[in-house]
Assembly symmetry: D2
Homo-oligomer: 254 residues x 4
């Protein structure tokens, strides 16, 4: 039986590429995303074309019980989850305080913080019982500094980072590897950055910085690091690391 890598937030950017990378190395990838069934199916098929193994699930992470039931069903029907990648973002662009509704602020928390808490609550008991597991959490610059207009996102990500530290404090010695990965730059991801910018501005950004110049974070390359982290020997685990394109400045320099 193949080990399972569950990706929550499996769009065409980091999530989908991480799923594919684990599938290439012999994992069964479970891809979950909120919408776009066609996109989901096509990602599963792409993995299968490479002789990988994958399942796709539509999952609305803010819905009560959605994550919990999906985890339970996978453990019951497919097998033990060895790696979870929590890849749900909560970036809604910059908004002044007056333009940030209570609903938007709460949605940031539901996706950015509470969803990870629910995921950990769902997967940790079985991982602890098995004495091993990996929880890889995609995070953002907003986890370490709150820029103007980021009220919802920064609060969500700041909470996420501290939650990761707390999870690590409880579960590291029980064999569960928690890693908080700060994606500190724009990712060449059509499903997130592409949608936020719109197709024209996204293509323009890709052409200026991305395609030839490696100036955007390439999700295939990010996926390499996620996979590497999951292979680290338990004598030398990494909890936190940052990533950005070589031509980009780290958050502390701008």
């Amino acid at each position: 039986m193949k080990p399972i890598c569950l990706v929550i937030g499996a769009g065409a950017g980091i999530g989908g590429n991480v799923a594919r990378r684990f599938a290439q190395e012999g994992y069964h990838a479970c891809l979950c995303r909120r919408s776009d069934e066609a996109g989901l199916t096509s990602m599963v098929e792409a993995i299968e074309k490479e002789n990988g193994s994958a399942s796709g699930f539509l999952l609305n992470a803010v819905e009560d019980g959605s994550i919990e039931e999906r985890v339970a069903a996978i453990e019951a029907d497919i097998g033990p989850i060895e790696v979870v990648v929590y890849n749900l973002g909560a970036q809604i662009g910059d908004r002044a305080l007056a333009d940030t509704s209570y609903k938007a602020f709460e949605m940031g928390w539901r996706l950015g913080t509470f969803g990870l808490f629910r995921t950990a609550s769902a997967v940790c008991p079985a991982m602890e019982a098995r004495g091993k597991g990996t929880i890889l959490v995609t995070s953002a610059t907003a986890a370490v500094r709150g820029n103007g207009g980021q009220h919802s996102h920064a609060a969500a990500m700041g909470g996420r980072r501290m939650l990761c530290q707390t999870l690590n404090a409880e579960f590291s010695s029980k064999g569960i590897h928690v890693a908080h990965i700060i994606i500190d730059g724009a990712v060449d991801a059509p499903d997130t950055l592409g949608k936020m910018l719109g197709p024209e501005r996204f293509q323009q950004l890709r052409e200026t910085r991305g395609l030839e110049h490696d100036g955007l974070l390439l999700p295939t390359e990010i996926a390499e690091t996620y996979f590497y982290l999951a292979q680290q020997h338990r004598s030398a685990w990494t909890f936190e690391m940052d990533m950005r394109a070589f031509s980009d400045k780290p958050w502390w320099n701008h």
Copy 2:
């Protein structure tokens, strides 16, 4: 007309003492707390006995509209709020993940993060229009590191810190001074630490570390610093500072 200092979370520890300190310096203090009407009245009376001016309000901060309505009523009936002290804690003691209910996790966020967002949303428009205001936020060690068992509290406080940075990024140049104060140690506060430990253990702790040895943070002394921060000239504002007893180790040393 006296300037107003609104304290949200005015128990017998930091909140009540900060209210009293501002009242001593000529502010009208508005004290808000969830329960214990007798305690609230007695704090207001203690301020009045010193010839200070104060009002007390019971306020359930997690209730819809409670903070918003209180802010509006004070601005309408008493006068402009010059200083807000957000002093609601969310510490529930250490609990394993399995013992941290979704409800407890959400309550941490409602008190620790969302309540501050609602408070800022309520006070900032008028402060911005007046070109001045001060928002002092009591924070905790859990805002900068997530210890074992602190799932709810650390996520709430990590979110609070990043939210403070975002508020500061938007409002500092508009004359609103936001300060994030990391209370990095045990406070000699009967209403919070006292209740968490129970009367016997609290008294024991006070005797070992507090009464003669200044080994607990004295809320009267913390109040001095809160008042000082509110007086800083706008050419030299502090956003973040930590506080602890001299005999205690900073969080990074233990």
Copy 3:
């Protein structure tokens, strides 16, 4: 006998104003600076005109024994040093690695890190024996992030910050208050910023940002905070705080 406040690095910016502020409150201020005897004398006279008490000393901090001998002489001839303000900067402007000589890099360390170590080595034994003392350390943005061109300065300040933490870890419980103050912005200081920019650019900057708009850190206001820190009760000491003008962005936002 007046308590003594020793200021190492007492130019016309932070250092001189801190000396003056302590003198106004009854301290005898000992002002040390490397050069400009006329400027030094005039600062001492200005303090005396306000009925304050002060002495001025030329001191080349990088010279072997200079700090140590000055400390010993003050303790022997004037009285116990209660407060030391270490205010020597090491900013030399932005220089590419290729343009940063070994000598410049070492000078940064000598002024920024080693000088503080020597100062602490000189004052701590007597402070420890008396069970009290205060060491206020002026620091800079470069203590918490290394920007381009700051090879010498950032290495010096990063070392300074960690040294302050180590000093605090050893001496806080012995009654010595160490505070690391991050001056995160341009200071209206003719002797440092003024000399780095040259008189014309400095005056231009003052006019755009400083004089009427409080957009530069005013050293008189910084001095208020230094004095406040030295008065904090030992039950509620601050180790680290930042300061900047209200209209300036914190380092993490740019």
Copy 4:
């Protein structure tokens, strides 16, 4: 011609194992260490027995010109240096301020900070001209917090971290990958930890925590991560990461 990996500080712990790991992947490893010629020779021979390629050099890093001349000689005689691993430590154990001589403090800086500056000054021009290069810097917990007794070490490592940020700010966009790796725990390294503890205590520690339980950082596993970092695609570089054994607590939790 094989790419060259130069390791400064190649004892039997991290340095030697990193050299060996790069040699296994086709690099020519240049191992430099201060003393123990026999140990150096035996490491070179071990690499050659695995069909790897290596050279060993005795190098006293604090000596004027030593690093600079070694770098120049390697570039002239062997070939272009693609990867430099700066692995010199400066840990001397905990010493009270009174027991930390000026010489010990300066030695910390010479090994911990200045040596890296000299190394970067020596290798960066050629790396920049070639448009690529990697500088991997072993760092320590003391780079991010100053514990009691760590005056020399924390000042050196705090400076090292800020220097790495400054180097990265200047050279990342020129194709040089700088990584600051925080080794946050005890390493199973006879040449450093072993010598500091003495043979008996070291063996005892290994038996309690290390041999069977993976409770010490294994240098072979650390070497995997160093190698991985050097292979990261430039669109997704990591500047900083931490490492510790699964059973150990991160520095912020104790």
